[in-house]
Every structure is written in structure tokens, then in C-alpha cells.
Amino acid sequence: MGKPLRAQEPEPLHRRAAEDLSFIRATMARATPLTAVPGWGGVAMGVSALIAAGFAARQANPAEWLAVWLAEAVLALGIGGFALVRKAFRAESPGLLHAGKQFAGNFVPPLLAGALLTPVLYRAGLAGHLPGLWLLLYGTAVTTAGAFSIRVVPIMGICLMGVGAAALIVAPSAGDLFMAVGFGVIQIGFGLLIARRYGG
């Protein structure tokens, strides 16, 4: 025999109220990714990449060249992270902060893959392929994270992936030029577009 049937108890009002507030918060979060990506942060990252490309092109040996780009990567990630958090807090919107976290959560895994593959390719004597790899994975990160954002963000990611693919296939020897175009020019262009249209 099964258990005796019991009448379904009504949902406690306070629980419904808490659910309503969570529902409102979640809806606001879904509506705010429109402005979570920092445009001016992207511009600053692009400028630093152009400067780094100039420095890197003058380096005589691969170790120094790699050191320049690793330093640039740390600097650019710092700028981007700071800009993302600053934009979310300036907007005073919990939804925007949530969207920023969501963006960052989808952004990081491809970058981790790049961090793991970098020493492997360098030790294998394939440093010339690193610019293509970095651009391809950074573009992947922007594209996947941008799925939760405005349309221009994944478009920027696809452009970066295209430049990365070109660097890998067409001309691995011109890595710094592709880095300047991808991390510099493309980020500055899209950064300005986002900053002007989507509030900074």
C-alpha cells in the first residue's frame, strides 16, 4: 500500500515573495547584458597592444619577444577586468554586475587553454605560431562570452578569430603585425563603437 494522499499545502506567502524578488532580479540581469562590456576598456587594451607590438617587433630573441607579450597580456587583462567591474559598479545595477560575472565566466576558459598551450608551443620551437593561437583563442573567448551580450561583441570575437586563423595559415612570420591588427586595431574600433552606443 502506498502512503495516504495528502492535500497539497499552499505555498507560504513569504516564499512566493522571495521567489518574486529573485524572479525580478533574474529578469533584470537578463535585460542588462546589453551594456556589460566595457568599450573604453577595450580601447585602452587596444592601445597597449599597439605599443607592445612595437616593442615586441624590436626584440632579437624569442624569449624577450615572449616576455613582452606575456607582460602585455597581464596588463591588458588587468585593464579589461578593472574596466568591466568599474562599469558594472558605476551603473549601480545588480543585473549589470551579474552580466559582467557571466561574461567573465565564459571568457576565462579559452584563455586558460591559451595559457597552457603557450609553453608547449614555445618549447617545441613553434613560437611563430603563438600570435595566431593567441588571437584565435582570445577571439573564441570574446565570441563565447559575447553570446550573452550585444551583437557587436561576438562579431568582434569572430573578427579576432579570422585574424588569428590568417596568422596561423597565411603568414606565421608576421605575427606582430597580426597582433597589432587583432589586439590593437580591432579592439580599439569595436571599443569605440561600444563606448559610444552602450554607455562607456
Binding site: P12, L13, H14, A17, A18, D20, L21, F23, I24, R25, T27, M28, R30, A31, T32, L34, A91, E92, S93, P94, G95, L96
Partner: protein
């Protein structure tokens, strides 16, 4: 102008655990003492108002994507909010394609603020005095 007050209040609101012994009695008291705005108590309309509270305006397609609903459902509920004066609708053409854009009115923003306030009051009442 994006939402400020309502969003901040919701962000500060923390989940509240009500003592079990208060469930039967205080629930009825709370229900009778709170006059909920029935118009936005309905989930889809609450979602529309909440989404518009954090965006200057949203198109029909954007709202549909954010809320994950059908054209018909969104149209019906948006019309009720429009009739109540909670949202305004702007119809135009972009590249010969019809474009419907929704904006939250001051009345709609106030209604959401009141609703959030009611929910917070309800949770406080259920929680009872701090021990």
C-alpha cells in the same frame, strides 16, 4: 534612464527564513494587509516591467528574447501594461521592417517600486520580530 531605486533595493534584499511556527497565522495577516498590484503580480507582466526597468527601451524582439516567450503572449501582456499606462509603445520602421519599441513610464516604475516594497514587507512580516 535605467532603473536605480528598484534595482538597488532588490540587490540588497536577502533571502529570509521564516520561523515555521509563524507560517499559518502570519500568512493570512500578511495577505490581508498587503494590496498587491494585480496587474504586475502576473509573472509575464512582472517580467516585462522588470526588464524595462533596467533598459532605456527594448524592442519587441529584444523583450521576446529576454523573456523567452511567444509573440502572442508578449503582445497580450504588453497591451495590458500599455492600457494601464505602465509602458509606452513606439511603432516605427527600420529598413522597411516594422519596429515596436517599449519604454517604462513613471507610473510603471512606481508600480514596480511599490510591488518590490510589498514583497519586502511581506517577507519582513513573515520573519517576525528579531529574537
Amino acid at each position: 534612464m535605467a532603473d536605480r531605486g528598484a534595482a538597488r533595493r532588490i540587490a540588497r534584499q536577502k533571502p529570509v527564513e521564516r520561523p515555521p511556527e509563524l507560517q499559518a497565522t502570519s500568512g493570512e495577516a500578511a495577505a490581508s494587509s498587503l494590496e498587491l498590484d494585480r496587474l504586475i503580480h502576473e509573472r509575464m507582466r512582472l517580467a516585462i516591467v522588470s526588464a524595462l526597468a533596467v533598459a532605456p527601451s527594448l524592442t519587441f524582439a529584444e523583450l521576446k528574447q529576454i523573456l523567452g516567450t511567444t509573440d502572442g503572449n508578449l503582445s497580450v501582456h504588453a497591451r495590458k501594461l500599455e492600457d494601464a499606462g505602465y509602458v509606452t509603445v513606439m511603432k516605427s520602421f527600420a529598413d522597411r521592417v516594422p519596429r515596436t519599441e517599449y519604454t517604462l513610464t513613471a507610473a510603471g516604475r512606481n508600480a514596480l517600486e511599490r510591488y518590490v516594497g510589498h514583497m519586502e514587507d511581506l517577507i519582513r512580516m513573515m520573519k517576525g520580530p528579531e529574537r
